[in-house]
Symmetry: C2
Subunit: 345 residues, 2 copies
């Protein structure tokens, strides 16, 4: 990513340093945050700067060019010095999207020193590698990272047996949350999206009831069911759309818990009077623990992920454009060894 474009360039194969491993990428998902960063990098830097966050590295990255990509499965190609070598060449691996530099985790793709997985090769920290089980296809393993976020979001919600889950926004995170909820045995999952295609996908991964967010409020439907069943409502707000959080606070019933994964671009007004009187809880989440990431890798082993397309490195820019239409795609995997254009799964 350089000068607001995605470009394919030949660069030297990276050299694994101390404690590092060289891997070949087998598949890497395109994350919504990559799209957002591609379209709004300058805005994000400016906002971060206003809030006093350190942005020098990021600015340098935007000037020099960044290699994005943090949802990957790869295979071990070579070992750097001072490695344990528990794994062997050819083993398939996943990793949390960090490389340790002097023990400090650096996010892959966030600066020129830690390039990400939109590439043929990359280096990873050996101590963070998880071996991908034999039976898990690459297409499923590449979902480990977003499913890790879903596992974390569901853990934070601490659902009880009679609770009713509401999934607002059925992009990759909403789909992954629905799949995790289904696997955890949650009895009632009501999902909502504006897009018919995404409503279809969330039905595939396990929603019991799917509603058109334009016509019906999933939160109000859940409130009625909760009143009947004696459970609480747990809302997962994944849209990040302006005004949704305030509406959730308005419509949520007594004792509802709201887990927010969606990042609205600006300020969101909420009514504390309502939140207090209903004793709401708002949990904002973004990451996962190492244990949650490992659980995600186990979870993806035996479910059919809802990948909607695949593309080689040459087609990534076209894939970014295609992802702007929710009727066409939800999750596209980059397979860097593949030639060219976007194919639909």
């Amino acid at each position: 990513m350089r000068d607001h474009r995605l470009q394919v360039e030949e660069v030297p194969t990276p050299e694994p340093g101390s404690g590092q491993v060289l891997v070949r990428i087998r598949a890497c998902g395109i994350c919504g945050s990559d799209l957002h960063f591609f379209h709004h990098a300058e805005d994000m830097v400016r906002r971060a700067e206003e809030l006093g966050a350190p942005v020098d590295e990021l600015k340098r990255g935007l000037r020099c060019g960044l290699v994005l990509g943090h949802e990957f499965v790869a295979e071990v190609v070579d070992f750097g010095p001072e490695t344990q070598r528990r794994l062997t060449r050819g083993d398939r691996v996943c990793s949390m999207p960090f490389v340790l530099k002097g023990g400090v985790p650096m996010l892959l793709g966030s600066n020129p020193e830690t390039p990400g997985a939109y590439a043929e090769y990359m280096v990873l920290s050996e101590s963070l590698l998880l071996k991908t089980p034999e039976e898990t296809p690459d297409e499923a393993a590449a979902w480990t990272e977003p499913v890790g976020i879903a596992v974390h979001a569901v853990n934070r919600a601490a659902l009880q047996p009679n609770d009713i889950a509401v999934v607002l926004g059925c992009g990759p995170i909403g789909l992954a949350i629905t799949a995790v909820l289904r696997r955890r045995g949650v009895r009632t999952i009501i999902a909502s999206d504006l897009s018919p295609r995404r409503r279809e996908l969330v039905g595939v991964v396990g929603a019991d009831q799917v509603v058109d967010g334009r016509l019906e409020s999933a939160v109000l439907i859940a409130a009625a069911k909760a009143a009947a069943s004696g459970g609480q409502v747990v809302v997962f707000e994944n849209t990040g759309a302006s005004g949704v959080l305030g509406r959730v606070v308005l419509e949520a019933p007594q004792g509802a818990r709201v887990v927010v994964t969606g990042i609205a671009p600006g300020e969101e007004p909420i009514l504390p009077m309502l939140a207090v009187s209903k004793e709401l809880r708002l949990d904002f989440v973004i990451y996962y623990t190492a244990a949650e990431f490992a659980e995600a890798l186990e979870l993806v082993s035996n479910w059919r992920p809802v990948t909607t397309g695949k593309v080689g490195l040459d087609g990534v820019e076209a894939a970014f454009a295609a992802l702007s239409d929710p009727e066409r795609h939800a999750k596209i995997l980059i397979e860097p060894w593949r030639d060219g254009g976007l194919s639909t799964s």
Copy 2:
């Protein structure tokens, strides 16, 4: 309370119904919510109506007149029919501020059928009565209700040993939260208020460090201490002042939990981008469980509450006026058997 005034009127002594007990009020605290309701009743009704809440009872109450008061200690005078009579006449009691009508809890003071404790006598549900321990003076027992809210708020925060507590706003709820935190063994409590008098009071009940909210940010001080101690920051936002919640989201460090007891009058803008990236949790609280209320009654037994004044029924309107100045008062108790004007403790 009638026609925007507080008036003392002679009414017939109430008759305890089935399962009810007649009590004589020994002391009743003036709650901030009573003040707020007195000054903004019409606004509150209008807002509730806009949000679709049922307000007919409340409107009728405002027309007919309401007896406020829900922070009380009383003594048993007489028993209605179908009562168990575990207690005897003269026993001192506290109760959650509800009367059961056909098993449904009705808030004391919220309608003409369940008058509250700004009175000589009132009826309570026998099954909700808790006997006040011998050693607990009336002045302490009258704090049970706000301390119940504090116990609940502290429970929701689920503090861990190295966590650092921040108390924003040191009115009665902030004071009670500080006292509960101290009793729970929380190591570091940083409290903040704009009023010198309230900063003095919060030091008395157990804050380790007290800052002037105009000059220093208690949240930023706590963030620095948490970084040093390996704990998390837990903020109790009790001011309900406009803009405070947004500032807490801005200043809170990674992983902070925010417990909100303060009710800001209108919409409060928050930045989800920050809340998500720091994985904040916002817990909005208002009540307590029966167990928490009972724990509060035990807790108040051996601490010196920070009551700042006492008044008879004739002086309640003057007490309301005095409470508008945080330099003069934090908590005034009504003693209905006492003559006249406001005395300072």
